[in-house]
C-alpha cells in the first residue's frame, strides 16, 4: 500500500500539468467560495428593488450552514470536472506512454496497477476535502459571532457526504479512462456524459408529470451530486416555498458507494482480461 502510494507520488511529483490543473482548480474553487456571498447579496439587492418588502442579506459563512454551503458550491458540475479531468489525464498518460505496460513488466501486478490508481483518487478526494474543510473553518470562524459546539458540528456530515460524492465521481472518471485509454476521447466522453447527457436525460424523465424524483435521480453522477443538494442559504428561499435539504440522505450515500464498487469491479475485470 505504502509502496503503491510512493510510486504514484514519484509519477506526479514533478509533473507540471498535474500541478497546473490542480492549482487552477483550487484557485477557481477558493475564489468562488470567497465571492459567493458577495454575488448572492448583490443578486438579492437587485431583487429587492422590485420587491414590496426588503429582502434580507444572506450569511453564507456562518456555522453550521457553511459546511453545507461550501460543499454544495464545490459540487457544481463545472467545478468537479477539474479533478476528474486530471485523473483521466494521469491514467490515459500511462496508456499513451505505454508505461502501464512497463510498470507491469517491471513487477507490478495488473491488480496493483489498478489499486495504485484507486489509492490516487482516494488521496486526491481526501486532499480536496481537507482544503475545503480548512477554508470553511477559517471563513466560519471569521464570520460567526458566537460559536457553540452544537452549531459547529451540526451539518458537519456534509463533509463526509462531499467526500463520498467526490470519490464516486473520480472513480467514475477512472472507469472511463481505463475503458477508453485515450486522453482526448476519455475527456470528451466524460464531459459529455456529466455535463450534457445525464442532465438532459434527467430533465426529460421529469417532463411527463413534473415529478422531482424520477429514475433519473438514481443515475450515478446525478445521485452522487445530489448527496449535497441546494443549501439552506437563508430563510429567503424557504419563504419562497422551496423544499430544502437539511441532512445528508443515507440512501444516496449507499447508492453512491454501490456505484463506486461496481466501477472498481469493472476496472479490475477489464484489466485482467485485456492485453496490455
Amino acid at each position: 500500500m505504502r509502496k503503491l502510494l510512493k510510486i504514484e507520488w514519484q509519477k506526479i511529483k514533478t509533473y507540471k500539468t498535474f500541478w497546473l490543473v490542480i492549482s487552477l482548480y483550487f484557485v477557481f474553487l477558493l475564489s468562488g467560495i470567497m465571492l459567493a456571498e458577495l454575488i448572492f447579496n448583490a443578486m438579492i439587492d437587485d431583487l429587492s428593488k422590485n420587491s414590496p418588502f426588503p429582502l434580507p442579506h444572506v450569511s453564507f459563512y456562518t456555522f453550521p450552514d457553511i459546511w453545507h454551503n461550501i460543499t454544495y458550491f464545490a459540487s457544481i458540475r463545472f467545478v468537479v470536472i477539474f479533478p476528474a479531468v486530471l485523473v483521466i489525464i494521469l491514467v490515459c498518460n500511462e496508456f499513451s506512454f505505454k508505461t502501464s505496460r512497463q510498470n507491469i513488466l517491471n513487477g507490478l501486478s495488473r491488480t496493483d496497477f489498478v489499486t495504485s490508481k484507486l489509492i490516487l483518487v482516494t488521496v486526491l478526494s481526501f486532499f480536496i476535502l481537507l482544503v475545503i474543510m480548512i477554508s470553511s473553518l477559517i471563513l466560519g470562524i471569521i464570520h460567526t459571532d458566537e460559536i457553540t459546539v452544537q452549531s459547529f458540528f451540526h451539518k458537519f456530515e456534509f463533509l463526509g457526504g462531499f467526500f463520498i460524492q467526490m470519490l464516486t465521481l473520480l472513480v467514475f472518471s477512472l472507469f472511463i479512462a481505463f475503458m477508453i485509454r485515450s486522453t482526448a476521447l476519455s475527456i470528451a466522453v466524460f464531459t459529455f456524459y456529466v455535463i450534457i447527457m445525464e442532465p438532459i436525460l434527467v430533465m426529460i424523465l421529469k417532463i411527463p408529470n413534473f415529478q422531482p424524483n424520477t429514475v433519473g435521480r438514481y443515475f450515478p453522477i446525478n445521485n452522487a451530486l445530489n448527496i449535497v443538494e441546494y443549501p439552506s442559504v437563508t430563510g429567503l428561499i424557504k419563504t419562497l416555498g422551496f423544499r430544502l435539504q437539511e441532512n445528508v440522505v443515507f440512501q444516496d450515500i449507499f447508492l453512491s458507494i454501490g456505484y463506486t464498487l461496481l466501477f472498481c469491479f469493472l476496472i479490475y475485470f477489464s484489466m485482467r482480461k485485456r492485453d496490455i
Binding site: 509502496k3 510512493k6 510510486i7 514519484q10 509519477k11 514533478t14 509533473y15 507540471k16 500539468t17 498518460n93 506512454f97 505505454k98 508505461t99 505496460r101 512497463q102 510498470n103 507491469i104 513488466l105 517491471n106 513487477g107 507490478l108 501486478s109 496493483d112 492485453d275 496490455i276
Partner: protein, 301 residues
C-alpha cells in the same frame, strides 16, 4: 529440466483471426548464454515475447520462468527492452530509474553506476523527452538492469539507430552478458545475431525453422571454385577426397565444398599430387544474408 533453466516454452500458439502468428513454438533458455530469436518482420518474434511476458494471451501452450509460472516477483528478475523505449517523458532519467527501482523493490544506490555503464550519467538530470533515440535505448537497458535481473530480453533494440548507436548497444549487450546475465535478443538482422549471439532460433511464419548454436546453424560453407585442364578427371579426383563434402557444377567451373577447417592449400596440394594442373582456384564467400535467405527459401518449398 536442468537447474539452470531460465525459460522453458512448450508449444505456444497464437492466432490473430486467420493468421497464425506463433505456431506450436518451443524454446529452452539456459543460464549464461546469448540467445537470438531471428526471423523476418512478421515472423512472430514480438508476439512470442508478448506471450512469454504475459502481455498477450496465448491460444495454446505453456511457459515457465525459472521453473515456475510468471509471478510479479519473477518479473523483477527479467529485464525487458523494447524497440520503443517507454518512460515518463516529463521525468528526468534518474527520476524514471528511481520510479522503476521502487516498483522492483531495488535499492536506488546502484542507479548512478548503471547510468555510468550506459554512458548517461552526465545527462541524468535531463528530462527523458530531450533524449535522442540512442540515449533512450541505452536508458532502457539501464532500467532493465535495475534489481540484478537474471535475464534480459531485447526486442529489436538497434532499430532506427545510427551506426554508432548500433555498435554501442551491441557492445553493451555483450558486456552485460559477461556479468552472467542471460540474454534473449529478437532481431530481423542475421548479421546482428551472428555478431552478438551464442545460440539462435530461426522463426518463419511463427514456426521454428532451426535452432542451435550460432556456429552450427549459421555455419557458412565457403565454396572453392576450381577449374583444370581436364575437367572430367578433376571431378572424380575431387570426389575421392574424404575432406570434400560436395562437388557442384556451375557454368564451366566446379564448386567444391570442403569440410570445415580444410585449407585451400591442402586441396591444391592434393590436386597436384594427383597430377592435375589447376587453371583456376578461388574461394567464394557466401554472403550471410544470402545464406539466411537460402535457409528460408528452402523451407518455403
Amino acid at each position: 529440466m536442468s537447474l539452470t533453466s531460465i525459460l522453458s516454452v512448450e508449444g505456444i500458439t497464437k492466432r490473430f483471426g486467420k493468421i497464425t502468428a506463433v505456431d506450436n513454438l518451443s524454446l529452452n533458455l539456459e543460464q549464461g548464454y546469448i540467445y537470438g530469436l531471428l526471423g523476418p518482420n512478421g515472423s512472430g518474434k514480438t508476439t512470442t515475447l508478448g506471450i512469454i511476458l504475459d502481455m498477450i494471451r496465448a491460444d495454446a501452450g505453456r511457459y515457465q520462468w525459472f521453473g515456475q509460472p510468471l509471478t510479479k516477483e519473477a518479473r523483477k528478475k527479467i529485464g525487458v527492452v523494447f524497440e520503443t523505449p517507454q518512460f515518463y517523458p516529463y521525468l528526468t532519467a534518474i527520476q524514471n530509474l528511481r520510479l522503476i527501482a521502487t516498483i522492483k523493490d531495488a535499492s536506488p544506490e546502484t542507479l548512478d553506476e548503471l547510468l555510468r555503464l550506459v554512458n548517461l550519467f552526465d545527462r541524468r538530470n535531463s528530462k527523458f523527452i530531450t533524449y535522442s533515440l540512442g540515449m533512450k535505448q541505452r536508458l532502457s537497458i539501464a532500467a532493465a538492469l535495475i534489481g540484478d535481473p537474471q535475464i534480459m530480453i531485447l526486442d529489436e533494440p538497434t532499430n532506427g539507430l545510427d551506426p554508432q548507436g548500433i555498435s554501442d548497444i551491441r557492445e553493451l549487450i555483450k558486456k552485460i552478458n559477461t556479468r552472467g546475465i542471460t540474454i534473449l535478443l529478437a532481431s530481423h538482422l542475421l548479421d546482428e545475431v551472428q555478431k552478438v549471439c551464442t545460440h539462435v532460433t530461426v522463426l518463419q511464419h511463427g514456426k521454428k525453422l532451426f535452432d542451435g548454436k550460432v556456429h552450427d546453424v549459421l555455419a557458412i560453407d565457403d565454396a572453392i571454385e576450381v577449374n583444370a585442364d581436364r575437367p572430367d578427371m578433376l571431378r572424380s579426383v575431387l570426389e575421392e577426397n574424404e575432406n570434400v563434402n560436395k562437388v557442384l557444377t556451375e557454368n564451366k567451373l566446379l564448386l567444391v565444398v570442403t569440410k570445415p577447417g580444410y585449407p585451400v592449400r591442402s586441396l591444391h596440394e592434393y590436386l597436384i599430387s594427383k597430377g592435375i594442373i589447376v587453371t583456376h582456384l578461388a574461394v567464394r564467400k557466401r554472403s550471410l544474408e544470402k545464406h539466411f535467405l537460402d535457409l528460408l527459401k528452402k523451407e518455403e518449398k
